[in-house]
Symmetry: C2
Subunit: 527 residues, 2 copies
């Protein structure tokens, strides 16, 4: 672990402005839920007095890296905050997975942690997990991670993808992107590396990552066959699963629902198969004239996952890759199989979610959600966008945020981010930031629409700050304080602008909020 020291220094350690780290305590002293409090300035009332504005507490995914008191070193990794909890369960012969515990009526520290984090009762958390409607991806071998929950009754989460390919990137860059991603609000992280040093890159990421890490084990298995899908075997794949569960990967994407019979259903598609995993499995099935070995060995896979409480995200290898292919027979045949696999995995104690599209026009989004809930036993749905039009490469964070917000509202539990580079290249740091913020927007818009009890507090604080012309508070409450501050500074210069009761959009004579203030003062004075 020699070269990553630079990485730590490279990451912008600048914490969010006017913020402090506050830990909420649970029922035990080692249960401390991190939050970020944004401090606000007072409102000046017309009568010359002031009114305090309480700080706004927001969900914080940055882990110890976001605590100003923490001086970490990627060499040593993060503190192992869940180690005691895992050991206690082992010593008291409790079951391993959160699902098994929930079914036995046990509220684990992880469940209590997420209940505090979401401001919801622990019993609701337990019940939703027991039903298979929510999961806490938390491999016992990744004790550095802070528990989070994925399910329809909870805040909508976002996943960010990082990972090198044969052509680009480095370990340093990937660790830096990881820290960058959790700083801006990524709830989970998938390491999709396909090039050299897969194992080592993952090790660096896991030991330093405060959020659950997912992978697609098939990518590493394929590296072991020098990139020949037809040379894959169950044994190679199984060994890869064992290697990665031991390392601490919190959830695996497994394309077990791509059955041999479904491959011909893609033959008249405009863009065929667009999932890497799906294409690899399809090639294997066609080459060997045999059923998908992941499907055939599903029970063994589940038992491997159970032993470390690695969750499974059943892949959608036949997801549509364009508007023309949305909601077709291939896609829904696989979704139905995902349902069968979900029930079998849940029966063996594995926490399960399902992956979903992809590219779907707006009017076909709702059907995806209702079928998934119906066919997959209410397991969390984890979608990629969906992209709602194909014509805007370089803006696919936006084409997909539209679909993501809608499907999040309808019930998708986690949204896989899309960056501006989608369909064009690998994201750099700026792209990761844009992708994360865009997906925080989609998730939050869905939370507002679903009426989550925590959702509207920040919006209302922002709106009040706008009405009061508290510019600094507006920047500090923003998802991206830095960019909003710099945009404002572009047209309004000098320190006085920060106190101006108007902005450059309307100028001083036209500010409707100032005029509204005048009207209220006027009406008030006359009463």
């Amino acid at each position: 672990m020699g070269t990553a020291q630079n990485t730590a220094d490279n990451v912008a350690h600048a914490l969010f402005p006017a913020s402090r780290r506050i830990y909420l305590r649970g029922s035990r002293s080692d249960l401390r839920v991190p939050t970020r409090q944004i401090l606000l300035s007072p409102t000046r009332l017309p009568n010359g007095t002031t009114e305090e504005n309480p700080p706004v507490t927001v969900y914080d995914t940055s882990g110890q890296w976001g605590d100003p008191a923490f001086h970490g070193d990627p060499h040593r990794g993060l503190p192992r905050i869940r180690e005691t909890w895992v050991n206690e369960r082992r010593n008291t012969r409790q079951p391993t997975t959160q699902l098994q515990c929930a079914r036995m009526g046990i509220i684990t520290p992880e469940m209590e942690f997420v209940a505090i984090r979401e401001n919801l009762p622990s019993e609701l958390v337990r019940a939703e997990i027991a039903r298979g409607h929510a999961i806490i991806p938390a491999n016992i071998n990744h004790p550095e991670s802070e528990p989070m929950i994925i399910g329809r009754r909870f805040l909508v989460k976002i996943n960010t993808n990082i990972g090198n390919s044969a052509l680009a990137s480095s370990i340093d860059a990937e660790v830096e992107k990881m820290r960058w991603s959790v700083k801006w609000g990524g709830d989970t992280l998938m390491d999709l590396s396909t090039g050299a040093n897969i194992h080592q890159t993952r090790e660096w990421i896991l030991r330093n990552c405060p959020v659950p890490v997912g992978t697609v084990p098939l990518y590493q298995a394929l590296e072991k066959t020098d990139g020949r899908p037809e040379s894959l075997s169950w044994e190679i794949y199984r060994d890869t699963l064992l290697e990665q569960t031991a390392q601490g990967v919190d959830y695996f994407t497994i394309h077990a629902g791509v059955l041999r019979d479904f491959v011909p259903l893609t033959s008249r598609r405009l863009t065929g198969i667009v999932s890497r995993g799906g294409a690899i499995i399809a090639k294997w099935c066609v080459s060997h004239k045999r059923e998908n070995f992941l499907y055939e060995h599903w029970d063994e896979i589940c038992d491997i996952l159970c032993a470390s409480d690695t969750a499974v995200s059943i892949g959608d290898g036949l997801r549509p890759g364009c508007i023309a292919d949305a909601n077709d027979d291939a896609q829904f045949a696989e979704l139905k199989t995902q349902g069968e696999l979900t029930r079998r995995a849940q029966a063996r104690g594995v926490q399960v979610m399902n992956e979903g599209p992809g590219h779907v026009p707006i009017h076909k989004i709702h059907e995806n959600m209702t079928r998934q809930i119906d066919w997959c036993n209410g397991a969390p749905f984890y979608t990629l966008g969906p992209v709602t039009t194909d014509i805007a490469p370089a803006y696919d964070h936006i084409t997909s945020a539209i679909g993501a917000a809608m499907i999040g509202w309808h019930g998708a539990s986690m949204l896989c981010y899309v960056t501006p580079k989608e369909h064009l290249g690998l994201p750099n740091r700026d792209d990761v930031r844009t992708g994360v913020i865009t997906y925080k927007i989609a998730a939050h818009a869905a939370d507002l629409a679903k009426g989550h009890p925590l959702a509207r507090i920040r919006d209302d604080a922002m709106s009040k700050a706008r009405f009061d012309f508290r510019w600094e508070d507006q920047f500090n409450l923003a998802l991206d304080p830095e960019l909003s501050r710099s945009y404002h500074a572009e047209t309004m210069q000098g320190n006085s602008a920060k106190n101006a009761h108007f902005c450059s959009m309307c100028g001083p004579n036209f500010c409707p909020m100032r005029i509204t203030g005048d009207i209220r003062r006027c009406t008030h004075a006359k009463n």
Copy 2:
């Protein structure tokens, strides 16, 4: 008109790549509908032969500026393509407005123009206008403009706002932004200038603008009172209307629905009144203890508009300015009044649309649309976003594109763009481009969902180009060819990348599209 020559040179005259201007002919020789044809390269088939891909024809808003054969000069303005049509109507004593003509069964050249542009029957265009369900904003004094239609049965349109304020911008910059806006796809343009030189700025814009131009006459009227709302009068306002109709403004935002009784309904709002026009009128009503003079003089206003076929966009002065205030009593009281004013204006032959919000959470969007259709006689709805969360200044093009796509799908006919600078400052050229492209995405996603006959052609061509690895065609088909090409070039360097059968996202061993191609060749060979 001295200083704008530089402007012309400053505007990136670079036309879209691999494109040619094609005019579709109508029933008369002076009726030529501009389109842009994007030329595509052939598909290489597995058997070594090639298959031609037909060019894709797209809607083109850039006017003569987008014709490589045109060498214009902002000094002289654009050719007056509608002058003959207007004169013919006058000479044959036909009525002035498109609505009046439509009701008499007349299909005007403007109606035929938009029918060709939308690939729909002229009779449908006439019937929708006659019902008041669609409008063609086309002031007889703006003969430079190319007809376009706004209505639920047609392609969803987007409006861009430009305009200087007392603090920033210049005439040159505004004309440049106008040309920039129509280049990227803006369907109409509102000049919201509030600072110095309002008349002159507008003159430059109108004489060079190929799309309908809208204004808020109240802004200029207020300049005439040195910014004092209480000094406004019907006479000042009327003279401003006459000045602007004579100049050629195609539609006016008029806040006639802000009644005196509605002002107290905003008193418990978190952000009060956020429309400039709404706030000015409210202040006037409160100061004078009188009813809104725009409401009182509505019939006279309509007669002024009728004489030049200036359309009216009835403003939503009490639109919500934050999530907390959405769909409240003040908003809906005004919407109901907009309905009354709509029917009265339509009865006098005026083409009408209604402005809508603003800030609305996802789950409250649909109600806005259904009430507007219900209360406002099916007149086109023209919305600003809506923004679906308040917490992301610097990304409000995205927070609002989510709402815009949804309300477009539900039936909004035109979407007013929002740039990244919304709530923070005035947009620069880059912001205008980002705002326009983002709103083209929202409008197109809505068109796909509504099933407009022209909508999916470009998406499918893009998807086929993706599957074929025709990279240049992908860039050329994109809404923003320049940016997508440059993003691709960042990670894939050298000319060979343009022909690569993979991209940097997955690398050569993992490209699912390449593998799909292999599977199909393999399956095909065996059959």
